[in-house]
Symmetry: C2
Subunit: 195 residues, 2 copies
């Protein structure tokens, strides 16, 4: 997605070989017009999958997920992060390890909103080691719903998450995939879906 | 806003005389089409205020704020909640007491995104005691920006936040104002802005 690449090149801050900060349009300040285009792009790519629900995770997944839900005309559920395991019969829960924070957190959703007749599209901002994505996939599994795939705004192609998920036969659509952040420079893989 | 009132009547769950749960379209599951209409309504009400930035707070403020930013064509910044005071020169920070959780948390934004020449519209999901709104107002004060007003999706008119803020001469636009949740029934105030 060219407009997103341009934005990353212009405003992304490479903090290390692993860390790209995109606080000016995705993770802290949000560019609503760009989010709308992102949502429409995800909708376009999953148009034939008869999605009935979008699943995302607070907080940075909410804006792109909501715009995808708007474009597809379906509700969006965002998983909540919780510090510790609160056992509850009303929740689907999964544990997610954060490499950044070096701690595990639970993420959960209410059982009220995704059911076994749903077809779910997972949307998230970043895909790196895949921990959040695997957590969301575990939740979808518990609901009994079908998983249509995963839409990612920025995939770090040099980290293993994308390959691990695709190796399971799950469709991952990343709007941009970063090949490298070395020497402070953002290098992208060529896109499969030219736009 | 009639469509919002209808949605609250149909799907809101009155958990006590003080607590209304709207998890099915605002706080956990999001109705993107309704959020878009909410964003357009806020934009309409603040159209003449030459807003340059929207300020909201994670997580439930993000969807209505992003749609308001889309309608007004301006960026959205969401304040982050943090467990404890991390002093940082790069942040504007305010303390927010939660009556629900009976604890104080800090909320903060980066200094990069709101400046003294900005005109800010605060958007949040609920207004009850006003703690979150006052925290966001304190942050706007620190930035030196002008505050155009506060847009609230659901105001609990029987709690003091709205009056406290209006008494300071600040414009508060609530799309719905609840008069009472007693006996499990949602009663609304009549709207000033008929729609």
């Amino acid at each position: 997605m060219q407009i997103l690449k341009d934005k990353i090149r212009q405003e992304g801050k490479v903090l290390s070989d692993n860390v790209l900060k995109v606080d000016s349009f995705l993770n802290h300040q949000i560019d609503p017009t760009l989010m709308k285009e992102i949502g429409e792009e995800f909708a376009e790519r999953f148009r034939n999958s008869t999605i009935t629900k979008i699943l995302s995770i607070e907080s940075s997944g909410i804006a792109p997920a909501t715009m995808t839900g708007l474009a597809l005309g379906v509700p969006v559920i965002f998983a909540r992060k919780r510090k510790s395991l609160t056992l509850s019969d009303d929740l689907y829960t999964a544990s997610v390890y954060s490499y950044t924070k070096k701690e595990s957190n639970d993420i959960s959703i209410s059982k009220d909103f995704i059911h076994d007749d749903d077809t779910v599209l997972i949307i998230d901002d970043f895909l790196a080691n895949g921990q959040a994505a695997f957590g969301l996939m575990k939740i979808v599994e518990q609901t009994g719903a079908s998983l249509a795939g995963i839409g990612i705004v920025i995939e770090k192609g040099f980290q293993p998450g994308g390959k691990l998920i695709r190796d399971r036969g799950i469709r991952v659509e990343s709007l941009t995939t970063i090949r490298s952040l070395q020497n402070g420079i953002v290098e992208f893989f060529e896109e499969v879906h030219a736009k």
